[in-house]
């Protein structure tokens, strides 16, 4: 930067060179849609360790702060919970017997193909997106841990998003609430197909939008949406959320509505990456 005093290149020329370079980079990277390896290497070696450090400090501080806040409320809660425990113990016994029955039924109908059977890798969220326009984040597992592009990411037993870029020890994940995200989904009960779109505007109120529901689909508010079996990138049967506000579109042929995701995207710290991809399943 003190080059300026040695060699005098007019700023206008530098501006021209650098903007041309930017435009070339934009064109090249959008055509090949793969990142420059240099960035991946630098990111793996320098940025990821630092982010992991900051992340653990941040979690530590946040936890301490929460502890102080929560002590008084916890005392009250503890009392209430003790009462609840006794109540629930009874219920557990009932459920246990139900569970046994369910297991047998599943075996019977060969339904144990739900996502409990998918293999997963646990990962921590180490950084979020830098702008307020997108909902993407970085996790601390990468190619070294067997992560590949298009692997599904889940948490709280619901769909979080999909891996779109993989480095040596990190991966970028686009969450389903991102404005550019769209997921092919279906109703768990009726198997009617629809499309779930992320939306920056409605996520403010905790929703994402769903469109292309057939006019004749017999669906009700509160129905569960899961990933569709016709999706090319998402494994089928992963819970997305609950539908509400179903309305008929202007074209009179389709319906749309809102979905409340089951995942709490505001406090996402640990996620599971499903290492089975859709392609593996078809083989």
């Amino acid at each position: 930067m003190n080059r300026k005093s040695n060699i005098d290149i007019p700023p206008k020329v530098v501006l021209l060179i650098l903007s041309t370079l930017s435009v070339i980079l934009i064109v090249v990277s959008s055509i090949f849609s793969s990142t420059v390896p240099v960035f991946n290497t630098v990111f793996s070696a320098v940025v990821v360790p630092m982010e992991e450090g900051i992340n653990s400090i941040g979690t530590f501080v946040a936890d301490r702060y929460k502890n102080l806040e929560e002590i008084s409320t916890l005392r009250d809660e503890n009392q209430k919970l003790k009462e609840k425990v006794a109540e629930l113990q009874l219920e557990v016994k009932n459920i246990e017997s139900d569970q046994r029955e369910l297991k047998e039924l599943r075996k019977l109908y060969k339904l144990d193909q739900t996502y409990e059977s998918y293999e997963t890798v646990g990962a921590r969220v180490i950084s979020t997106d830098s702008s307020n326009w997108y909902n993407t984040f970085v996790i601390d597992k990468g190619a070294e841990d067997g992560i590949e592009v298009n692997m599904n990411v889940i948490a709280d037993s619901g769909l979080v998003g999909i891996v779109y870029n993989v480095g040596k020890n990190y991966s970028n994940v686009r969450s389903i609430i991102d404005d550019t995200s769209s997921v092919s989904a279906m109703f768990e009960t009726t198997a009617d197909n629809c499309i779930v779109n992320g939306d920056l505007k409605s996520i403010e109120n905790g929703f994402i939008t769903v469109s292309h529901i057939s006019k004749d689909a017999k669906v009700n508010e509160g129905d569960v949406l899961v990933t569709s079996n016709v999706s090319s990138r998402f494994l089928s049967g992963i819970t997305i959320g609950y539908i509400s506000d179903i309305t008929i579109d202007n074209n009179g042929l389709t319906k749309s509505g809102k979905v409340t995701p089951v995942v709490d995207f505001k406090h996402l710290q640990e996620v599971l990456v499903v290492t089975t991809t859709k392609d593996d399943g078809n083989e």
């Binding site: 370079l21 960035f39 941040g58």
Partner: protein, 169 residues
């Protein structure tokens, strides 16, 4: 040389602050634009050449690590750094008013460019919503953080200039 090292470290710290630290201090779900403060601050203190270079490399880092299209943020920050550099002759001593106003304006312009290319092009036309819920909150938050950061950068730049003057004699 010293300047190069210090500025590189500052860019890296700004990036980490933005993606890691400030995600714990979100206000209404909004993260301040730390990188923009760095670019504008150095542009007004050092002129359009340095503003432009810092802008370009800061943007490049954001691009590269977001795993998406490369060159997008680099171009935006490049232009922001260049244009803000024109105000350098108007900055004297520790006057904070103009730099802060420039951060404010730059933040609005930056957000509008992103809205224009990433949202309006995809037919998301409710500009009022995006202005009220993303652009304005981010700008306000960025403005307040800039009050502290600009002073910090001013101090660092001042130290660097003293060292540079000494070594040039």
């Amino acid at each position: 040389m010293k300047r190069l090292i210090i500025v590189t470290i500052l860019i890296l710290i700004s990036y980490l602050l933005e993606v890691s630290v400030f995600s714990y201090f979100k206000m209404a779900g909004i993260v301040p634009n730390i990188m923009l403060i760095l670019v504008v601050s150095f542009a007004v203190m050092r002129g359009n050449m340095e503003g432009m270079l810092i802008g370009f490399f800061s943007g490049l880092i954001l691009d590269g690590f977001s795993g998406e299209i490369i060159g997008y943020y680099a171009l935006i920050f490049l232009v922001i750094g260049y244009l803000n550099g024109f105000f350098q002759p108007l900055i004297y001593s520790n006057n904070m008013m103009l730099p802060l106003i420039l951060v404010l304006v730059s933040s609005l312009v930056y957000n509008f460019i992103i809205y224009f290319f990433s949202f309006m092009f995809r037919n998301k036309l409710d500009i009022e919503f995006y202005t009220m819920h993303v652009m304005i909150p981010e700008t306000v938050y960025t403005f307040f953080i800039a009050i502290f950061l600009y002073n910090f950068y001013y101090y660092i730049n001042h130290k660097l200039e003293v060292i540079e003057k000494r070594s040039s004699i």
